[in-house]
Symmetry: C2
Subunit: 214 residues, 2 copies
Amino acid sequence: MRIADEDITSAARIRDAAVRCFARAGFDASLRTIADEAGVSLGLIRHHFGSKEGLRAACDERVLWLMDDLGRTKAQSPSPIDAAFAAMADRPELEPAVLYLMRGLAAGGQFSAAVVDQMTASLEEYLEKGVADGSIRPSGDNRARARYLVLSGVGGMLLHFMQSGDWSERAWRDFSALSTRPSLELYTQGLLATSDFLDAYTALSSDGVEGGDA
Amino acid sequence: MRIADEDITSAARIRDAAVRCFARAGFDASLRTIADEAGVSLGLIRHHFGSKEGLRAACDERVLWLMDDLGRTKAQSPSPIDAAFAAMADRPELEPAVLYLMRGLAAGGQFSAAVVDQMTASLEEYLEKGVADGSIRPSGDNRARARYLVLSGVGGMLLHFMQSGDWSERAWRDFSALSTRPSLELYTQGLLATSDFLDAYTALSSDGVEGGDA
DNA sequence: CGCGACGCTATACAAACGTATAGTCTCTTA
DNA sequence: TAAGAGACTATACGTTTGTATAGCGTCGCG
């Protein structure tokens, strides 16, 4: 059959099948399931990837590459996750990768930290620009703010996924519908009518090294 | 030894040991580990609880009861999770229960949904009172706002736990230190300098059934 | 005393999993 | 053509898991 059956190498077929399985069932998906999905034997996975961990690493790399590519193609967004899901409308073949990304975030560890770090850096830059042109309010610590916003946004979405048990585009759509208005409200007008709490916290902090605002 | 060795029944010892083990290692903790922790045989767990699921249900009930009790004792807070962690300073014996709560939230499913629902209801009431006395800004949909805030807050904390891999009070303290200032900033002054996005979204929504604010 | 109920243990069972090994087939290369 | 490397499969190993069963000891009650 040479390289005529599927156009891509078996290792790539296995990797793509693994991404699909992990996206669908989480990282508890068995190697046998993946082997079936890829249409190969169990041993071939080991032959190419050494271990489940090795396969997982290959999947991580692949998904990060796809997301990176997607990030380069599409316009920047304050929320890369939302951008990724939105991109699925045009390119449905990306669905497993995006869902895998969510699984990876939920699983914690190095992969999750890397993704969050990257998203934080991206958002920090976005916010910085916004502050410069006056569309975003300044912050006492822009990096901490970016990290907090990423953690909250992604974490909230993950919690929604885990609760619904529905790891699909539908879950993302549901979450978007539920959270867009409240988040816009919060981002626009805040929550507290006075700055008493913030003032108290700022005063309580050791010294006034960070300037106040508004 | 009658009932002198530990003062509580074996079933309760098993349940408490299970809460500790689940809190420490997640719900993948094996029944044998729990049996060892409780100082009983594997069979006794089955004898009392029927199955792992049964044990899990007993733990759920126990933890919810403890949290309920804690909620009744301590003053109400906009963030029951923070209140629970804060209470651990006085009552360290609650630590496994609080950590179990986090594990349960992260695991999703019915337990997670129930906890989030209860927290949402609690926060909604809190916000409503705040709106009434003018300390909280009004919202077009107070219930949706409460749910969004709970999902984001809890989700963000969970993501931090999962990333650090540290399911302990320390992780909570770290997260608090990192998120208090940004959240206060966001709650006080918002993020966007203008209401353009919110206005556009409101206009885009089918009709003006929900009144504007501020 | 006799006997059943209950708390409790020890052991076994079957399934699922990741991993390891031996071997087959098919190209490539000298 | 012969040899070797690499893709690929079939099968087995050892561990861990939840679950099931058989039995032991003790207490309370008729």
